[in-house]
Structure formats: C-alpha cells, structure tokens
Amino acid sequence: MVAPPEKFWRTALAILALYLASRLMLVVVGVMARQTVGDGVAEPLARMFCRWDCDWYLSLVTQGYTTGSADGASGKTSYAFFPVFPLLARALTGLGLSPVGALVWLANLCFLAALFYVQRYARLLGLSTGASLIAVALLCFVPQGFVFSAGYTESLFLLLLAAAMYHMRREQYLAAGIAAAALSGVRANGVFFLVFALALILRQFGWRALVQPWQRPEMFVPVVLAPLGLFAFWAWCYYSTGDAFAQMSSVEQGWQWRSAAPWKNLARHLDGNALARFWAISSLSVGALSLLLLRRRQYEEFFLVAAILCLLWSGQIPNSLLRYCIVLFPVWIALARELEHRPLALATTVGCFALLNGWLMVSWILGALVSI
C-alpha cells in the first residue's frame, strides 16, 4: 500500500497536460461542430459549455430558488437542483465573473483538482505513477467527459467524492467528513459515501469497531457528517416552501421521475428506443467494469459503485445514465490497473473513449438529446 516516492512536479505537469489536451480537443470539436454542421453562429466559449441543466444552475446563480415552473404549471422548478454547486458559482461571481463564466470556471477548477485527488487516491491503492496517470487520462477522455467542463455538478461531485474517500483512507476523518457533507449537498446520491465509509471501517478495524464506537469515535465523524448537506437542503426547502422534499416533488412531477426495481427498469430501457438502450448499455458497461474492483479486492469501492448504480437504475427514466456513471472514478482506477502493461489495449481504449466523447460533444453542441 506504500507508494514509492515520485517527483511531484512531474506528475502534476502530466495531470495538467492531460487536462489541457483533453479540454483543447473538446473546444476544437465544439467550435468545428458549430461552424460546420451547426448553425455557424459563433458562441462565447463559456456559453458553449452551458446547455440543458446548466440553464437551471444559471437561474439559481442569478435568481436563487423560485417556486415558479419553467413552462406553465408543469412542476419543473429550480428546486429540483441541489444548492452547493450554484452557491459556489455565485460566490465566484463576486470576483467579477459572469454567471455563465462562474459556472464553467468552477466546473473546470473542480475537475482539475479532482484529477489530482484521483491520482493520489490511485497511488494510495498501490498503483504505480504510470497507472495512476492512466486513470487520470481515462477520466479526461471518458465518453461525455465534457460535462466535467460544463456548468454541471459532475466535476464538483467527482472532486468531493474523491476527496472524501482519499481523506477517509488516510484516516483524516474531519476532512473526509467535511467533503462528504458537502457531497450530499451536491447530489442526493452523495449520501452513499456512507456505504464506502462503513465498509472501510469494517474491513480495517473489524466489526468490533462498529459495535464499540466509543473506542475510536473519530472514525465515525465522516459517517455522521455525510448526510448533513442533504438535511441542510431539506431544511432550507422546508423553511422556504413548507415542503422539505421539494426537490423530489419537483423531479417527480416536472420530470416524471418514478422509481421501480432496477432490473425491471433496465429491461424496459433495453427494450426501448435507441436512446434508452444507449444509456442503459453505457451504465451496464460501467457496472461490468466495476467487477474489476472485486478482482483487486477493493470491496469498499465496489460497494459504493454498486450502491450508486442501483440507485441510478431504480429511476424509470434512463436519461443521463452515462453522465451519472462517469463520476464513479474507482472504476477508472481499476481499469487503469488492468491497462497499465497492455499498451495496445490502452491506446485502443483511450482512442475509443475520445471518439465517443467527441461524438457526444458534437451532440451537445447541436442540442441532441443523447448529450443531456
């Protein structure tokens, strides 16, 4: 588990280079798509990375939460979106950034920071520097990875998840707890960090640690703090609307979100239209790759990924399943470990990832539903 010494700056430069190369590629693809197959109208760079849900976050940054529905009385309200990401973006507007610029800058800064955390986490798991950088490259080029630079919550979620897990593994419990608390204020499934934390405590300290919490109470700090962000959001919703579960109310009515057994939903998606099949197959592929975690006995990470995947599959709507899955970075770390000594497989994987990411970037620019 002890990582060999490495030159920090060389690794940092490699991460920065991977980040910049992947973002540059996306910008080039985006501009070319707009100019050649799109309407040909030039678009500010920040605006190019603001589509779909980004407009909701934009309204949150500029107006805060409102109970008014977007299109009449359908129930699509800004309460469907969690507060931490737009709150941070709002803070950035104080530095003179436009609201769109603040969202996109925030997303990119979070993504860059997340890449460092993921690399450190991979080293913590015993991967070589090369393998840890492969994990970073996979994240940079993963299909739909452009959302890490868009006004979406994925980059912040990735950063906080990686930070919480990293500090938990290093037994820096207060830092892990703070990151976990913020994580559940970014998206509800951030609470599933609990699964990882409890599994790690169980594996590292045995079941006695769970039933005798007075022996080492500090390691339960992240466990207890993890739901704090979610409860704070519920409390705010209760205070402002009288409905603590306003987020769920809005999502259920406005976006027709319903839950059902994951296997039933997956069967329905696979039997549905091409879009539903694409999202279902994408998420199933991530699920299949997560089995690599079992092979390496990374049970804590596997349980976390499995819990989040089950939650995602319990929704009857297949939209965005791929986007939700790509933040599950332990999967990319496991894949990186497998690819480390297989240069041809590595080149093929990164190449395929980049191609798919480019295709989805074009779809995003053109406003196609597959990129939602």
Partner: protein
C-alpha cells in the same frame, strides 16, 4: 491505539450521537409536516383566480381545455390543461369554484378514468364529505356523474371539490394529452353547475357505474 483521553472520546461520541438524533427528529418533522409545495402553489393560484372570477350566474358550463379561463379554478393535483381536458397528476385533485349562491347545486361532470385495473375507483368529496363514488368499468367514460352538492358544504362562497383515485391504477400515455409523456389516470373534460331541484338535493355517496 487509544491515545486520545477518554473524556474527549466520549464527548465526541456524544456530539455525533446528538447529530444523529437531530437527523432522525428533523426527518420525522419533515415527513409529518411537509406538504407538496407544487400543490400549495397551485392551490394559492386557484384561490386567487377564484377570488377574482366569482361564478354569479347559473347554470354555468365549464370546459377545461387549454387556454380556457375556467382552467384557473383547477387547484392542486392537475397537469396544465390540454386540448381534451385536464388530467390528474396526483390524488386528490382540487377544484375550487367560487359560486355566489346559498342553494343546493347540481354538478354534471364529464370524466374519463384510464384506470382499467380491477377494483379501481374514483371518489368525489367536498370538505371531507363523500358526494359520489364511482367504480371504473370497461369503458373510460364514467357514467352517472350527476352529483348534488348540499348548500351546507358551501362555505365562504366557495365550493371546494376533491377527486380521489383509489385502488390499483394503470396509467395511459395520451397522445392528445396536454404534453407528450404525461401519464393520464383521470381526465376532467367539463363540468356544468346548476341549481338543484328540491327532489335531487340528497347526495348518493355509493352510486356506481
């Protein structure tokens, strides 16, 4: 392992335990006292509309199609009205009618229920009193939908009606609904309000199709 003083460990454990209890208490309060905010918003909007548009002449026929002013009387629990009528999004669905009279009223509904599962039923209530109960048959259109509302149930110049769905349901995706993808359980097409005659003044709560 145990380098931390015992009192600090117990203090931390107490703090964590308290926070855990706070979560449980807050969740109980949230569950008990929360009301769907979309319903509250729609109810407030319908009350405002009702206050501004009292129904002073009878009989009055209201058609709940897109763009019609009477759709403003639809309170909580409805999708935005479509070309065929207003469909229920959540049970119960409210209808707030500011009828300026103190007489028994006759209500004639045109209602379609897309709930073909056996045992499904629709109940009409006003201020907690059941006015009608319809079992859903083979055909979506409900029959015997003439209901008499006693004057005693009209308070503050308002007729407050609620439609409840009971039993198993099977949603129907209406191609001509207000919006693609909306699942329809119950579609309110129109309602005629008129003064009831003396003989029809008692409601029949268990009338069935």
């Amino acid at each position: 392992m145990k380098t931390t003083p015992a009192w600090r460990r117990w203090l931390l454990l107490s703090a964590l335990f308290s926070l855990g209890l706070l979560y449980i208490g807050a969740f109980i309060v949230f569950r008990r006292d929360s009301r769907n905010f979309l319903d509250a918003v729609e109810e407030a909007r319908a009350l405002d509309h009702a206050a501004a548009h009292p129904i002073s002449t009878l009989p009055q026929r209201m058609v709940f199609h897109t763009g019609n002013a009477e759709c403003g009387y639809l309170g909580a629990g409805w999708w935005p009205a479509g070309p065929d009528g207003a469909s229920l999004v959540r049970s119960p669905a409210q209808l707030l009618l500011p009828v300026v009279t103190r007489r028994d009223l006759r209500l004639d509904f045109t209602l379609d229920a897309y709930v073909p599962a056996p045992g499904a039923s629709v109940t009409l209530t006003s201020r907690g009193v059941t006015l009608a109960h319809w079992r859903v048959g083979d055909q979506p259109r409900l029959t015997h939908t003439r209901v008499v509302l006693p004057a005693a149930l009209q308070r503050d110049g308002m007729v407050a009606l609620e439609l409840h769905l009971q039993g198993p349901r099977k949603a129907w995706k209406g191609a001509r609904a207000a919006k693609p993808g909306i699942e329809i359980w119950l579609l309110l097409r129109d309602l005629t309000i008129s003064a009831a005659d003396a003989r029809a003044s008692a409601p029949d709560p268990e009338r069935e199709t």
